[in-house]
Symmetry: C2
Subunit: 195 residues, 2 copies
């Protein structure tokens, strides 16, 4: 699981792929303060009750700086959410598709088992639908990679999305209390037993 | 598919099960005006940019009336959303579980193919997680009923939720452009071919 420290430490690398948002010195401090403020406020109040002025006050920055950098609150929340599961993290690579997908599903479930991550996912859902969120695009790229590197894969990437990622995300959003230590293994078994 | 007229016409019946919210005369008119205002504003601005004062202005009612009746915006949106797929509507009943689930999945997809219904679902997702939304509890009750009335069902109600409802809702929220006329049949085939 990616903790707060890891995310902050990895910020310069992640940001270096996006020159318009290069972060260094004061800018990196502002980003870290805003991210912490968003995460705390979402946890305390729920995503639908957080406003830009609240975030600015908590982070000790001017609201104008937030509007200038992110445009609006949905964009800000979506960008913060994309930092959560580092797309550069090492992925399971046992050589066995079923084993790798099980480890990967367990990691996603563990990631969303924290209240802040689940709240960020719900906030992202509210603003989704026009373009795929970076966060879910990364999961889809990972599913595609797992399947593509397997000779004669018994499942397609779309089936991994529909029968492994979708039920996890659905339960995280709507039925978080129904997820337990057996969920990842059960879903992978149901995905493969249909092949 | 449940249209606007059907929902409004069915309001007295639905409301009669909840005495605290009995509607008649002026109260029913206010409910209809507020519902229309919420739906229009969500469609125009996206769910995260709608406020109670905006809804009050559009509906021609005092914001205080809205706060008194619903408490806050998330509660209001969730209640409006629960009116969308009437739980009293007739369900497919061909005697064949696979056929019934296919017709049911097509109906859910058609329901969420309109922009307002999809936006209400996303707004509901943002406020979910503490208790199951009425809307999804109804779908779960329906899945349970389909399976329970089938002798020796090849799938469980949980599998219907994970492998049919979850991928539909996931795609409606995050990948609406990926849903087409083949989605319901494909997902049902994948659900049953694993049995």
């Amino acid at each position: 699981m990616v903790g707060m420290e890891t995310q902050l430490a990895s910020t310069p690398d992640t940001a270096s792929t996006s020159p318009a948002k290069r972060t260094g010195g004061r800018s990196a401090l502002v980003l870290a303060a805003v991210r912490t403020a968003v995460e705390e406020l979402i946890k305390e109040r729920g995503p639908e009750r957080v406003t830009v002025p609240m975030i600015a006050e908590r982070a000790g920055v001017n609201p104008t700086s937030i509007y200038r950098r992110w445009g609006d609150l949905p964009t800000l929340i979506n960008e913060i959410a994309t930092y959560r599961l580092d797309p550069e993290r090492p992925l399971p690579q046992s050589g066995d598709l079923r084993g790798d997908l099980t480890a990967w599903a367990r990691e996603i479930i563990e990631h969303y088992s924290t209240a802040v991550n689940a709240a960020l996912l719900r906030a992202g859902a509210a603003t989704a639908g026009e373009s795929e969120s970076d966060c879910l695009r990364n999961r889809r790229a990972e599913a595609t990679m797992f399947v593509a590197r397997t000779p004669n894969p018994p499942v397609t990437a779309d089936q991994v999305i529909d029968h492994l990622v979708a039920p996890i995300i659905y339960r995280v959003i709507f039925l978080p209390w129904s997820i337990d230590g057996t969920t990842a293994d059960r879903l992978v078994a149901e995905l493969f037993d249909r092949a």
